[in-house]
Symmetry: D2
Subunit: 425 residues, 4 copies
């Protein structure tokens, strides 16, 4: 009997999806016939350029109407944030909160705009904000701030690598000066090193004021690399301004040992009666679920243990003009729920890598700036507060989803809220 | 001398950010005075409801004008995709490609709409699409498809857990029937089990047609759980429809062993002259960088090794109405670059968890549907093709960024393209 | 002020360890002068051969006396387990238990021999065995058994890889026959596949009777690879019998999704009065510590969460002739402590990769066989029982260390037990 | 058709191993009948005590003869390294090398004793030592040294945690004094902090002279904790001397960012003709295998990428009296192979956590000390050299196994060397 043989056959069938293997293999071959014309890209953002791209592309004019024509008047404001612009994407914003945050920087009741197309997301975070605020709000603090670039240098031998790293580690003051010449907002605060055989990775940590700062630190690190090439007693065979050690745009275990952007923790204590009234469950039931889900996370090999940080992060990043690709690196951390001696619920979230700015990037665009202004968090001196509000929001989200799962209401909420949609098949 | 003492002091100062420790600690205390009024949430999406929220919230009318008034006419189409709607977020879409994809499902030249506010992103992916297409396109294949829900069951003892798991593993046919009663699109294809002491995690794998399917599998799993509670010879003390083992909304090592959504691989062979002409570097230089960056990723503790999957994924997910929070789970995988015996460049990407649908979710919203239509990928029977195009796009993105980093052009591109922005500080 | 500069300078100084950088770099240079004579290795194990190696090596005869002469009479029994034999290593064995184990295979009270040179290790495990047995013993069950080999095959293109994998997945029955021709103990039970660009990794899962089986599955997989090279419609450019995907000799997240060797869980419920009497702490205090340490583990990026599995595993593996290098892969898993509603302690351990055999390898050597016989676990039909006893032992070890840490006795035990040593500086 | 249902049924059958589910469940129940007598443990190590344990245990006298009687004369020398001693474990030692090491501390040709019962292990490392030495030896350098203890402190609120951490970070000088009062060998070199909600983890990094030092840093940290409890302005609700954040006895991603014990790198350049002559393969073939296996490791979710560090580490740790349980934490790191422009092989290994001492622990026991003396590495001032030799050995092991796998000789070596065994079934 060969049950498994039958199964692996099923797997093969599924790959082929109804084709013969010859047909499948043939489809995968590169094909240089009739290559399409590929337009030269353009950084110029305006209606005329966009129209030209549409003309080249052809296709049904109704999509052009939706994407371009309806938003054509504001297209130019995206200059410098996009290339090859063909129009404007729109998605709805819902409001969660207000959420009370008691932070080192944030202090007050914050309305929280969330951009998403997922049913139940805003409702769930709103519910969490509500109970958290009723309990006196989320305490929140930024624990560390830094953004890294990790240039790398390849040598012939470990002996050369040794000579280089010893020299480089003595250059901290000079490196700071080189950085200072490229930016007034960014400051070099630390230099680390990793020697791997004949390769040397340096890790430069910066603060970047209230900008998210990825580009700022790239330019600063380039300046340091230029100096290294001029001054180092032993020249690298190859070098790169970024070696993928910095954790840029990806979840990494390293973030817990250092930080990516802002490391933030937020916590709250919820009286049992609030849990029952607003969340329809009990502190003990929530803790029981938390524990089982924490181990579920561990068994699946996640970095950190948490429920759905990504949902709130993505929605807040989108609404406020952050780089939403950073959700990949930011959506890690630790959620912890306990029952206190008094029978109340203690809940906390800790995130090692919240990547937010309140100036630069997409923060100055029309709807994005409007959302930041709504929260009172646009401009200089606000990014730490935004990170603390962000942590408070994620705490609210963990409270809400864990309540729903522990009370057995999780599937119900999704059924109810998505049911009103008109566009579904 | 105690340099480190001085440093840890600096760290403490940075946490306090200029406050005394008493002041800092006081700010963090919960505060139940003057609690704000928190509006009841609403799933109804229209101008009137939105206006009511704005009225409650108060604040400068200019933000309402930007967020609500300018898009008020299309607000109702978001019914079922948002709650507490207050308006519409807008971000620009740029076009990359067309990209030639030779896939098991995708076949042809695809224009690729990318929604982002990050300068240089579209330009970089466009450059990659160009060279990839000139080389005959990306070969791409979906290797596996499944979406999981992992309910969990707690018992008194491991003995009870043993009795339960043996019973449950014999119920596969019944579980399939229960699933079939809740959905015609979703099919249960496998059931796995993990016993951890007196806890049992089941892992249900589904296919969900062309929908991304997270809600579909939640409802189906709920139905199975309902059956388990009726029929199991040993009842759990507690149970949950999802235990955090499924990897939903987070990067997990487990995805490589199974899949989340669609597991896809894409590859291409680029003649050296194309690399030189379009990317201004050489196959050897790109491979050298790839190797150093692969180890950089390993040293930082990432899941998989890759460059910037998150950038392209987030931009394509946004443009096409996917759940952008899934970037957290999708942006893992493996990029590999080699030099062939002929001196050409071989490049591949493999992603275990692309989460895309071409029906349902946000795919039917105006601009999102328009983008899918532009690609010819809206509706039934298209989701595998979309996943293959997605993998091809990410291959293009890896080619472009690795070319820039290996040629020393990385910082230059960012400086040039972001410089044209008007909104920067 | 540049505190950090001073620090990185300190780091450089520490690397140099008092040398100049020139001197340091010079020491690292390869040196082909006066190359030593390197004897041809020998698999022959006897006193004469050993003496010859000692003669070549020279050196103080007292070490030869200790290593070789005292054990020369039994040297030949190590034939086939060592090469270039020069003598015999000795380390003490202490006895923990007896430990009561209520397992699917193990059943009874097991004395547990532990080989170690670490003070307090045996005492700590013994204490845990004592309380666990007083509570009625550890329940334990083997959940899955398999040992994998993962050959890999490189092709020119993903198209060829597709053709190959579809073919290979249809060969399960033939693969089984090829395996059966090489071994009567080993059975092929599953074949999985991973396609990564133009590379295909196959994953062969075997059962291997009561042997640990790493060599058996290597030979079996080699036979399958030989068949593949003869019969495959598309030949790989390169192929390897093992590709490092199987997790051999290293901790991997993948083990939780499949298994390495034997996946085992063990649990127990300890009445509060036993905890107080034997462990001098309370269930609540132990759970509190467990939770904090679980998150400590998560923050440090371990695979699974546990205390000190490695201690008990290494000591038991050594005493019973297992491959102690497998501690690297076996010492992962999950420990969980809870307080029951009745106020008692619930405790469990789960290990995805216990690698034990009761025949073959080092199990037949004199002291190793004696230890297995002492436990009643030597020979055919015993390996599952040994794995369950192993899990029970590790549960005892977690109970003991967590008790010590939660009661504040951890440092005391180490101080007291190591203090009696005579050999310390 | 329900292939999978059949399979899950098979899985259930395999758990039951031929029993009914009722029988299986019954076996797992705790059983307090006829509890065995459990002897009080004893730290006294001598023949009389051991005999008493044997008398209590009963059983066949032949095992006592093998374990105790043959080694009874040296039993007392293990006083302080074992409890409940019942005898002595013996395993063979084979010699690899001599290996030439060009290190910052190690310099010369080292014979390397390896204790193992695994056929082919010594032969494989010996082969690697041979080719490495012929190429001029391994360059090796200790990059960082530290051993950590991570006490943890729980507070009521994040506000209290904030007050505590700010205070603690200002106490570095006092902490150093407290440490200095407990040890003259250990020095506190850094203090880090992680705040997770209302929990604070401190991370104390020490140097410990030439001892491995785990106990030393435990006692030192206990002294600091005692001081904290006296002096802190805000008292923790609970505290622990170790919180599982330090990575003790387990593989952790964190080790790459800091170190566990000694961080060491070793490399070499092997002329193509040496590779062909001694390893029967080519630099290109070895690099090709390395790359495929590196990605195999990534896909399986290991920490770092390497072949079989655990084999050499365990064998050397055992022979030289190191704590072999530390293999769990030490056997991670990065192996890298490249082909140089000249067509030679470049190879390196980097390990973040080699845990070795040359004084204390098991290093002074008879055979262990003899092995260290054989290498010239016993006593003060030798531990950095031992770590460098260790890295060189592992480089040799990676060369040998990768050569075997790339040349297709892997299964052959195992077949040949294990075949001479007499004890196999």
């Amino acid at each position: 009997m060969t049950g498994k043989g039958g199964l692996t056959q099923q797997h093969a069938d599924r790959i082929l999806a109804g084709r013969t293997v010859e047909d499948a293999a043939a489809r995968l071959e590169p094909d240089c016939a009739d290559l399409p014309e590929i337009p030269i890209g353009s950084a110029k953002v305006n209606r005329e350029r966009a129209s030209r791209i549409w003309d080249q592309m052809g296709g049904d004019p109704q999509w052009r109407e939706i994407l371009l024509d309806r938003s054509a008047d504001e297209l130019e404001c995206y200059q410098g944030n996009i290339e090859n612009a063909i129009g404007v994407m729109r998605m709805p914003i819902g409001l969660a909160g207000p959420l009370r945050v008691n932070g080192l920087s944030a202090k007050g009741d914050y309305p929280i705009p969330l951009a998403t197309t997922e049913a139940a997301l805003v409702a769930s975070y709103h519910r969490g904000c509500r109970v958290l605020t009723m309990a006196g709000g989320a305490s929140a603090m930024v624990l560390y701030e830094s953004i890294a670039r990790a240039p790398a240098f390849a040598f012939e031998t470990a002996s050369d690598a040794c000579r280089f790293v010893v020299w480089a580690l003595a250059q901290f003051d000079v490196f700071r000066e080189k950085v200072a010449a490229t930016t007034s907002h960014g400051k070099l605060i630390d230099v680390g090193s990793t020697v791997e055989g004949n390769h040397v990775y340096l890790n430069f940590e910066y603060t970047t004021g209230d900008a998210s700062g990825q580009n700022m630190v790239t330019l600063a690190t380039q300046a340091v690399c230029d100096y290294i090439l001029e001054a180092s007693p032993v020249l690298p065979v190859r070098h790169y301004v970024e070696s993928n050690l910095s954790g840029d745009k990806k979840a990494s275990a390293r973030a817990f040992s250092t930080a990516r952007g802002k490391k933030v923790t937020a916590d709250a204590r919820l009286p049992a009666e609030l849990v029952e009234k607003y969340l329809h469950t009990t502190p003990q039931a929530m803790r029981d679920y938390w524990q089982m889900s924490a181990i579920g996370g561990v068994l699946s090999g996640t970095i950190g243990i948490q429920g759905h940080f990504a949902n709130g992060l993505a929605a807040l990043y989108l609404a406020t003009g952050q780089d939403v690709a950073c959700v990949a690196e930011s959506a890690t951390g630790v959620t912890r729920f306990e029952v206190t001696e008094e029978g109340d619920l203690y809940a906390s979230v800790t995130l090692p890598g919240i990547m937010v700015g309140t100036v630069g990037g997409g923060t100055g665009l029309p709807t994005q700036k409007a959302c930041l202004e709504l929260m009172g968090l646009y401009g200089d001196g606000k990014s730490r507060a935004l990170a603390e509000v962000c942590a408070g929001l994620l705490l609210a989200g963990e409270l809400s989803i864990i309540a729903a799962l522990s009370a057995g209401h999780f599937s119900r909420a999704h059924r109810k809220l998505a049911r009103t949609r008109k566009t579904d098949p």
